[in-house]
């Protein structure tokens, strides 16, 4: 799980140094201990995260088959940006982005209801959060059967008398993306609901009461009281969902659609895998990896900016 909202707080939050005691050890001992204690995590992350991201940048400037690489400068990027498939893939990421408001709004509404503490709300809460424990592979497996031509969705439609509306979402280009998005929204529903319930628990109930006394209905309370007061949590959920959509859907796509039909459900992260491990063009794949990294990095920076402007 990634965190989004408040790394900044941790980053700027000062570590209060231990005071040096009379008769205590000299500062040097503490510093040395600090260095030694932090060494394992530094080595691990430097060797297996920092080094490879550097290599990705380097190899994106080479023609590379995994063994030998030759310097080609910006050729990979030129090739990438003139490839219409790349733009289609980027557009797919755009469609994912466009679906995120729904992945926020539905949990927000449900959290609003849960917050009324109706009978059994604790039970509801833990059922909603359950999909966080399930792998994308398993989710994808069921999703295929759900959307299949002879699948659950069509059975349900038939049962409620809508048999004429026969769907086959996974075989159409745009509809396959819709199927992936529906599955995605289902999967992140629990996490976002929990975030919003946590947020609502921090709100002052008196504000609600005051609004109610003033004659505000449930809808206006939701839109004019709850949403504005939850902005920090909504923003956190938005970033978390966006990062998930861009960097965690590989397995789901791998299982549900293999990126198809055509490239209809290939997103950037799937494109990296496709180019590297199916087409063997590692240099080009590295360039796509750099583009993905740049996009994710930009999202985080924007997020920090917004946070800072709000706390100032």
């Amino acid at each position: 799980m990634d965190l989004a909202g408040t790394t900044e707080r941790a980053a700027v939050g000062q570590t209060e140094p231990l005071r040096r005691h009379r008769g205590g050890r000299p500062m040097g001992g503490r510093r040395r201990a600090g260095f030694v204690f932090s060494l394992p995590v530094i080595l691990l992350v430097a060797g297996l995260l920092v080094l490879p991201i550097g290599q990705t940048f380097y190899y994106s400037l080479t023609s590379w088959d995994g063994i030998t690489s030759t310097w080609v400068g910006l050729d990979n990027y030129r090739q990438l940006f003139s490839d219409s498939t790349f733009w289609q893939v980027l557009a797919n990421n755009g469609i994912l982005l466009a679906s995120i408001p729904l992945a926020i709004l539905i949990p927000l509404l449900v959290a609003f209801l849960l917050n009324e503490r109706v009978l059994g709300w604790r039970f509801f809460r833990s059922v909603y959060f359950l999909p966080t424990a399930i792998s994308w592979v398993v989710i994808g497996m069921v999703a295929i059967r759900f959307f299949a031509s002879e699948g659950i969705l069509n059975n349900v439609l038939r049962t409620i008398g809508l048999g004429s509306v026969h769907t086959d979402l996974l075989s159409g280009e745009f509809s396959a993306m819709i199927a992936v998005i529906i599955t995605f929204i289902w999967s992140v529903f629990g996490t976002n609901t929990i975030i919003f319930i946590t947020g609502m628990a921090t709100l002052d109930r008196e504000v609600y009461e005051a609004a109610r006394v003033d004659g505000a209905g449930a809808w206006s309370i939701f839109f004019f009281v709850t949403i504005p007061m939850l902005m920090r949590f909504i923003q956190f959920a938005f970033i978390l969902t966006l990062i998930t959509a861009f960097t965690a859907l590989f397995s789901l796509i791998f299982i549900m659609t293999q990126g198809g039909p055509g490239f209809a459900t290939t997103t950037l992260e799937f494109f990296v895998f496709e180019k590297a491990f199916n087409n063997g063009v590692f240099g080009l794949a590295a360039a796509i990896g750099v583009v993905l990294f740049a996009i994710v990095f930009a999202i985080w920076i924007v997020q920090f900016r917004i946070l800072r402007s709000r706390t100032d």
Binding site: A10, R32, S38, P40, Y59, L113, V127, S135, I255
Partner: protein, 271 residues
């Protein structure tokens, strides 16, 4: 009048929330029901049979793959706990010149998408001959989980009072002793949270397993399941049985440690 309306609206809320439960639980119902039908019974839409479970165990080495998943997941979680508790202690309490910058860089590690590093990672690990070895996958998982875990531990340790440590120092305890006897026992809740979060994430992962553990002997259950699916296996009940088996350990961990997961999320928000 007003009271009846109030009661009606609460009833309506309850009904809506129940409908959401149906939507969220349906996949589990479908998996369970389908797995207990033979292929023919599945097509016919009724019946009960253990056939599909037999098919599943005949097709893939389920127990072997569960064992592999356990080795990889537990191994990686242990490394993550080791480096994140020591690192968290250092960054929270034992600052040294440059430690703040290093901590920031570590946080930046959380922003690196797996796909952006996966190719060189694969080449490096295979250079050490660790493809299809548990150690390779374990190290990669550990590195991917370490930044977030260290962040959570650091946040937690910052909340522990300095006086405790200073008092122990006065008593002549070494930093190692303070870590083992003061910090670790105090941070058990945070340790559990980190362990549960990472366990579920690693158990459920496909990509790293797919690339770093390719041979049947070392395959994890999640990868085994994905291989079944992509081999165009048509026996849907057997696939559902496989899904259920692979999901069960993580579901049990979830049910037992639910509270800790929620706390992980809120700790991530910096609360």
């Amino acid at each position: 009048m007003n009271r009846t309306r109030r009661r009606l609206s609460r009833m309506a809320m309850f009904v809506v929330l129940c409908l959401v439960v149906v939507v969220m639980l349906f996949p589990f119902y479908f998996m369970t029901l389908t797995s207990f039908r033979s292929y023919d019974q599945y097509l016919a839409g009724s019946g009960f049979s253990l056939d599909s479970w037999a098919v599943l165990f005949d097709t893939i080495p389920v127990l072997r793959e569960l064992f592999n998943s356990t080795v990889v997941t537990v191994g990686a979680v242990l490394i993550i706990l080791a480096v994140s508790t020591t690192g968290g202690f250092a960054f929270a309490k034992l600052g040294y010149p440059g430690s703040a910058v290093i901590f920031l860089l570590l946080l930046a590690g959380m922003m690196v998408p797996v796909q952006s590093i996966i190719i060189p990672e694969y080449v490096n690990v295979s250079g050490f001959g660790l493809i299809n070895q548990f150690q390779g996958a374990i190290l990669v998982y550990a590195a991917l989980g370490a930044p977030f875990a260290t962040y959570l531990m650091t946040t937690y340790y910052r909340g522990i009072s300095n006086e405790l440590i200073e008092a122990s120092l006065m008593d002549g305890a070494s930093y190692l002793q303070i870590f083992m006897k003061v910090m670790l026992p105090l941070s058990v809740p945070a340790i559990v949270t980190v362990a549960v979060l990472q366990f579920i994430q690693i158990w459920d992962d496909l990509l790293i397993g797919l690339l770093f553990l390719q041979t049947p002997e070392v395959r994890t259950i999640t990868v085994g399941l994905a291989t079944l699916q992509s081999s165009r296996m048509v026996n849907i009940p057997a696939l559902m049985a496989g899904s259920l088996v692979s999901a069960l350990p993580a579901i049990i961990v979830y049910l037992v440690f639910q509270r800790h997961l929620v706390r992980g999320l809120t700790m991530g928000m910096g609360k």
